[in-house]
């Protein structure tokens, strides 16, 4: 039998058993809108790709990592010093975590500025915000795992902030720490969050998010939509397979190139083993994506109008978060018209706040 004949025989065999024909049919007809802002639409996919990198490298790290306060640091040291390519795998996991945070933020802000959250995509926005929160939780829990000085104190500060929340603070901090203070119990717990609970929830939510994106199709930016409506024309479409897919794969490949360079040229540091009885070293600060709130809390005086400053700050953040989460709902006026200027202004203001306070938090 000729090769092509054999291939088609195999295809037929699979088709009969798996029913792939509708899938192929669907992919052949799926299209995405084509316009000058298309580039921003790649960041969701890149974030997804980086999550895949995290899962793959995370599973590899699990082969050697030991989640106890006596062994964690030594096991990571073993990974970077003894295991072949261990330094690279760990460095990729750390760098990719940071890039993933960055691309998730870019993705979110492009959704804001292209107004892709607008009806009927409000639930897609909510699931996306939840995913961003989960990514931060991944970063926070993973950061403690090497059990080094900076991670130990950053986690202590982070859970202390949680403890100062009104009403639920104490209970929440105890839940996070698995006890009254950071210790072996916290490490076990964070490990469980990091490698089992968060991956499970995140995977499920990613499926929901993608299903919603598929359900509603990719949105067309307002500007493009208006131009075409004026001209009475349809928005140009790009076939998903192969045109969009190949571009997306190229974006992933480029991302991998950047990631590989960063991981190989700037191997992630391990630092010193955490010593709960040593004083906190100067210049302790959290990962960059927690810097803005960290610095804000540092600025608030200890008491404002008789309320504890920390509590007030947290209330402020709560309101800010609630305001941001509900963006699609206040973005539309009663008559359904979009408050484009208001949303864009809010996006710019939030970026300005995050950028300045992160910068100040980093340099002071």
């Amino acid at each position: 039998m000729e090769v092509s004949a054999r291939v088609s025989a195999v295809k037929q065999w699979l088709d009969e058993r798996l029913g792939l024909e509708p899938v192929r049919e669907f992919l052949a007809h799926k299209t995405v809108p084509k316009h000058s802002s298309t580039i921003w639409y790649y960041f969701g996919g890149i974030t997804l790709f980086l999550f895949g990198v995290q899962v793959a490298t995370g599973m590899l790290l699990l082969l050697y990592y030991r989640p106890t306060s006596t062994e964690a640091y030594e096991s990571v040291q073993f990974i970077v010093a003894e295991v072949q390519f261990g330094w690279l795998i760990r460095s990729i996991h750390s760098w990719s975590a940071n890039l993933m945070m960055l691309t998730a933020f870019i993705h979110m802000f492009s959704v804001v500025f292209l107004h892709a959250y607008r009806r009927p995509r409000e639930v897609t926005w909510l699931s996306g915000i939840a995913l961003l929160g989960l990514t931060m939780a991944f970063g926070f829990s993973g950061y403690l795992l090497p059990w080094n000085t900076t991670s130990f104190f950053a986690t202590r500060i982070g859970t202390d902030v949680a403890a100062s929340m009104p009403f639920i603070g104490e209970a929440l901090a105890r839940f996070l720490r698995g006890g009254d203070d950071i210790g072996g119990a916290t490490l076990t717990r964070f490990f469980g969050f990091h490698v089992a609970i968060l991956p499970g929830i995140t995977t499920a939510l990613i499926l929901v998010h993608l299903a919603l994106v598929q359900r509603h199709g990719i949105s067309t930016p307002l500007r493009v939509e208006r131009q075409h409506r004026g001209a009475g024309a349809q928005v140009a479409q790009l076939p998903f397979v192969p045109n969009f897919l190949v571009r997306e794969l190229m974006a992933w490949y480029g991302t991998l190139g950047v990631l590989g360079c960063l991981a190989a040229l700037f191997p992630w540091e391990l630092g010193d083993k955490a010593d709960p009885f040593a004083p906190a070293p100067a210049g302790i600060r959290p990962e960059w994506y927690f810097l803005a709130p960290f610095y804000t809390l540092k600025l608030i005086p200890s008491h404002v109008w008789g309320i504890e400053g920390q509590v007030l700050g947290l209330l402020g953040f709560g309101l800010l978060a609630a305001w941001w989460v509900t963006l699609p709902f206040w973005a539309a006026a009663r008559d359904g018209a979009l408050r484009v200027r208001l949303v864009t202004g809010a996006g710019v203001a939030l970026i300005a706040y995050l950028a300045t306070f992160s910068f100040l938090g980093y340099t002071r």
Binding site: L60, L63, E82, V83, Q84, F85, G86, L88, I89, Y253
Partner: protein, 143 residues
């Protein structure tokens, strides 16, 4: 000509993809191979006081990461054998009534020289040197 160029591009893309995949697979394969852990080699252990062990009884001694079975044969004679069965590495035990070494996993028996008496074990148990240093029983590797 066009077909030819398409063929070339196909080969280039396919080759690039294959080379990329190989460059991902190689570090991963090397990573999953556990590195040799250099444990400090143990050549000698102290197995407690000579009087602690009754005649015709035995005790399991930790020799580095291996179990060693120390048996007191008579008032003055001690013997020690590797505690791991030569069949499938179960840990053996001393059988007082039969005065033999017994492996419970597949009913393997060894005599007090470590030789196989019955059952599936293919080889004799390795023997260790035992001597007394004052009150202490000392076990050493046979050179």
């Amino acid at each position: 000509m066009v077909a030819n160029r398409r063929g070339w591009i196909g080969w280039l893309v396919g080759g690039g993809a294959a080379a990329s995949l190989a460059s991902f697979a190689y570090p991963v394969l090397r990573f999953v191979i556990p590195p040799k852990v250099s444990e400090a080699p143990v050549n000698e252990v102290t197995a407690g006081k000579a009087t602690d062990l009754l005649v015709n009884s035995a005790r399991m001694i930790r020799f580095g990461s291996r179990p060693v079975l120390l048996i007191r044969i008579s008032d003055s004679e001690y013997r020690a054998f590797d505690g791991m069965c030569t069949h499938l590495n179960c840990t053996v035990q001393y059988h007082q009534e039969g005065r033999q070494i017994w492996c419970a996993c597949h009913n393997g028996f060894y005599d007090l020289n470590g030789k196989v008496v019955s059952g599936p074990p293919p080889r004799a148990l390795a023997q260790y040197e035992v001597h007394l240093r004052g009150e202490d029983v000392i076990i050493t590797k046979r050179s």
